[in-house]
């Protein structure tokens, strides 16, 4: 399955991360570190009207057509020419319009989530609605913003919203009609549920948050999906939820067909900074240990040591984790930027929060800030360089506790002010060491794409450029001014023998091509 997807990835971009691994690595080499300076504009497509900006969705490219979304909107445009084929508008009824990460496609059906808690299926040929299903309760301040992931026999959908104290969950839906196949709550819902001993009461657990903002990754051989979960509730004021608050801010392996938990790893035990742990769980098949692999190879990095089933996450709290994805055991836990909130790691490799750095009435200076050491924009792993790339920030802010009562709800505090230095960190997945670090003058996070052409594509934040870096050294090689910050994760594909690179910045999709 993975091999088949990799083959497809040369010509298409069929799912949120390109393939199920979350690596956002393309085997294409037509555009490479030697010729990228000639990469030129193919077309741009600007959306207009309500809900048009910014485009956070990663477009899918299937059959020469790009499909992408923003809240209440889905577009199909010609991947060669940028001309619109159809535009679907959902008649929304409330919810949160902060963003939409994209669509899922299975066969000739497209799946998209809406701000008012619907999963909608469209015919990819004409954008006509096939069916709709309610997946959450908009009155309870849930909303939907994530990209559905289509795996064999299931559409995996997550839910969003950390305004009031609700439980997070993830669902598998029937691709044919959207009916519910299974639902897994991220926090205990009834007596006897695992993790309940990490909450003071069932009542607190049942309202304990843990939203499922990020599209999952999937290992077809193990038949496991890898879910990353959001912050606990109440978010900042935490006096009434002592304990680790499982399974919030965690990486969780679930059986794809039964929705049952196989293992978990908590990236931010008892989170009090809205850090989540929803960054992509990137699946890496590579050796661990043994001789260092060549850093400039374009072969896909075949090592002499047997590849292992690994999982890596650069988490919003500033920690980089490498796990054995068969059992969730941590192989490596380290900082990918300096942080000041933890007292090392426990025997499971999970960070130990420093109580002094929980939000305080008179303020605690904490790094990272609320936006985090990274955030939802997609990381990338290149098997060619052996490097895990993350859009990162060294950031500080002061965290205040506002609700000092015994039973806070909702937020009860926040951070103020702040300073941040944004950068790309290139992390050696085996050691966690920073191989290179490239700082930006601008601010903001952007998604990443690495390719076998020894390139790393991303945005330089508010400086408003789409850039290509040398994936081995971080040296800037190419840029195009795209007016505003890159707002999604770039993709690449081949049509008619030409390699395209497509990225969104604000209300515009830009396509670049290497002409013959």
């Amino acid at each position: 399955m993975i091999a088949a997807l990799l083959l497809i990835l040369a010509v298409e971009w069929p799912t949120f991360n390109g393939d199920y691994s979350g690596r956002r690595f393309s085997p294409l080499t037509n555009v490479n570190d030697r010729n990228v300076k000639h990469l030129s504009l193919a077309w741009s497509y600007r959306v207009s009207g309500p809900g048009s900006a910014p485009i956070k969705a990663t477009p899918l490219q299937v059959g020469g057509v790009l499909y992408f979304s923003s809240p209440d909107h889905v577009w199909a445009i010609d991947a060669r020419t940028g001309r619109e084929i159809w535009h679907f508008v959902w008649q929304g009824k409330g919810g949160n319009y902060i963003g939409n990460r994209g669509v899922g496609i299975g066969g000739d059906t497209l799946y998209v989530e809406t701000p008012d808690c619907h999963l909608v299926a469209l015919n990819i040929k004409d954008g006509r609605e096939r069916w709709r299903q309610t997946i959450c309760d908009v009155n309870r301040y849930y909303y939907s913003s994530t990209a559905p992931i289509v795996i064999p026999n299931h559409v995996i959908v997550g839910v969003s919203g950390d305004d009031i104290d609700n439980p997070g969950y993830i669902e598998a839906r029937d691709p044919a009609d959207g009916s519910l196949q299974w639902r897994w709550y991220t926090v205990p819902q009834k007596p006897g549920d695992p993790g309940l001993d990490t909450w003071p009461s069932l009542e607190m657990a049942r309202h304990g948050g843990g939203m499922t903002w990020q599209p999952v990754t999937f290992d077809p051989e193990l038949n496991l999906i890898y879910l990353t979960t959001g912050n606990p509730q109440p978010v900042v004021a935490h006096v009434n939820r002592p304990g680790a608050n499982l399974f919030t801010a965690s990486i969780v392996a679930l059986g794809a067909d039964d929705g049952k938990m196989r293992w978990y790893f908590q990236a931010s035990p008892h989170d009090t900074h809205d850090w989540d742990a929803t960054e992509t769980a990137v699946l890496i098949d590579a050796p661990l240990g043994g001789p260092p692999r060549p850093s400039t190879g374009r072969s896909g990095g075949r090592g002499s040591v047997q590849p292992r089933k690994l999982l890596a996450q650069a988490s919003r709290n500033g920690k980089f984790f490498l796990l054995d994805r068969t059992n969730g055991k941590a192989l490596l836990s380290t900082d990918f930027v300096p942080t000041n909130w933890s007292l090392g790691f426990d025997d499971k490799g999970q960070p130990i929060p420093n109580p002094a750095k929980h939000p305080q009435v008179d303020g605690a200076l904490v790094s990272p800030n609320q936006a985090g050491a990274t955030n939802w924009p997609s990381p990338s792993f290149s098997p060619a360089t052996g490097l895990f790339y993350v859009s990162a920030a060294q950031a500080y802010s002061v965290w205040y506790l506002y609700d000092t009562g015994k039973n806070p709800m909702g937020w009860g505090g926040t951070d103020r002010g702040g300073w941040a230095q944004h950068m790309v960190q290139a992390i050696d997945y085996r050691t966690g060491k920073i191989r290179w670090s490239h700082k930006w003058e601008g601010s903001g996070f952007s998604g990443l794409l690495s390719t076998a052409g020894n390139l790393l594509f991303t945005g330089d934040g508010s400086s408003g450029n789409f850039v290509a870096l040398n994936a081995t050294t971080g040296e800037p090689l190419w840029r195009a001014g795209v007016r505003t910050a890159v707002s999604n994760g770039p993709i690449t594909y081949t049509l008619d023998g030409l390699q395209y690179v497509v990225v969104a910045a604000g209300d515009t999709l830009w396509a670049f091509v290497m002409n013959e």
Binding site: G92, I98, P338, G363, M409
Partner: protein, 345 residues
């Protein structure tokens, strides 16, 4: 307050920026002729969320100021003048007031709260509901948590609350008029909103917990603050001119433009560029990325130089010393410095 930070900036700028630097306005042209709404749309409605998301919830002016400040801390880019225009627009047009009591239809369908209705409902809640549901409606051993009640959350201006109170409430209640139900609906929605981020209840507590003497020693010694600042000069009577939390924010994050007053000009970041043939150009920085550096030269002209082999770019950030504090300073010292500065009356 503005005067203090102006002083502070002036001292820093004088210490690190060339005397020939033109006024900062040259570095970043003011957005002339643009409406407050247009500025807000441009700055707040593109990078992270769209404009409609920004104006979802009405806020008071201090809340909008804090919100905008927060956004700057998270990377929003705006000049002081733009920040002032944004706060003005939002505080005027998207305030909490009785005129915004109803949400819209379709995507804008959000429950709104009329503060006057909440006020009128308070005695009714106190007499009929509070004993069981608690002062903040979060429940007691005798009554449910109403902030988490589906009846309350699904309610729109009494639509579900009215029928529930009339016939489904666990204890029979005396009949309520339609107006009373509407008032209670506003009251309970306000209690839900109390828990949301940006809640009007969420205001800082006492940040004046440090030791002023220890703060003074740090200021004069290890902190190196006295190199640029003086309690008799730029910081004179700062404890009268700024509240403690503002002092705390500004000494840590002076480069957060929202934390400056609108009368204060932006700090001048300067840059010195040396080209391969030895030419040196310096002046206020306009734009810098990996490929180009733009600045105003000594004549005031805009210059853009392509970065590449042999081109040296040296940036001077007047706030560099403040940024350098962040990884070093402890929370105790931070509180001590705030206490010291606040004591300068």
């Amino acid at each position: 307050m503005g005067a203090a930070i102006l002083f502070l900036l002036g001292v820093l700028a004088a210490a690190q920026a060339p005397a020939a630097a033109p006024p900062p306005a040259a570095a970043q042209p003011p957005a002339t002729g643009e409406s407050g709404e247009a500025t807000t749309r441009r700055v707040c409605g593109t990078l992270c969320h769209d404009f409609e998301h920004v104006i979802t919830v009405g806020r008071t002016r201090p809340q909008w100021e804090a919100t905008v400040e927060n956004m700057i801390g998270r990377g929003a880019k705006a000049t002081s003048a733009e920040v002032a225009a944004i706060v003005e627009f939002l505080s005027t047009r998207h305030t909490l007031s009785p005129t915004t009591i109803r949400g819209g239809v379709g995507p804008a369908d959000k429950p709104m709260v009329d503060p006057k209705a909440v006020e009128r409902a308070a005695p009714l809640y106190a007499s009929d509901c509070r004993a069981c549901h608690g002062p903040d409606a979060r429940g007691t051993s005798d009554g449910a948590n109403l902030v988490r009640s589906d009846v309350v959350l699904r309610d729109r201006y009494g639509s579900t609350l009215g029928p529930y109170l009339a016939s489904a409430h666990p204890r029979p209640l005396p009949p309520l008029t339609g107006i009373q139900v509407l008032l209670l609906s506003h009251f309970l929605r306000a209690r839900v909103n109390d828990t949301l981020r940006g809640s009007p209840l969420f205001t800082p507590g006492d940040v004046l917990t440090g030791d002023a003497e220890a703060g003074e020693s740090y200021f004069k010694g290890e902190g190196g603050c006295a190199a640029c600042h003086s309690p008799a000069g730029d910081l004179s009577a700062i404890g009268r001119r700024m509240d403690p939390i503002t002092i705390q924010q500004r000494f840590l994050f002076p480069n957060n433009v929202a934390s400056r007053r609108r009368s204060t000009p932006a700090p001048v970041v300067t840059v010195k560029v040396t080209t391969p043939d030895g030419e040196t150009v310096s002046g206020p920085l306009v734009h810098l990325d990996d490929f180009y550096v733009s600045l105003r030269d000594a004549s005031g002209a805009h210059r853009t130089i392509r970065r590449g082999r042999g081109v040296q770019v040296v940036k001077s950030d007047p706030y560099a010393a403040h940024v350098a504090l962040l990884p070093r300073i402890t929370d105790k010292t931070m509180h001590d410095v705030v206490a010291y500065l606040a004591s300068l009356k």
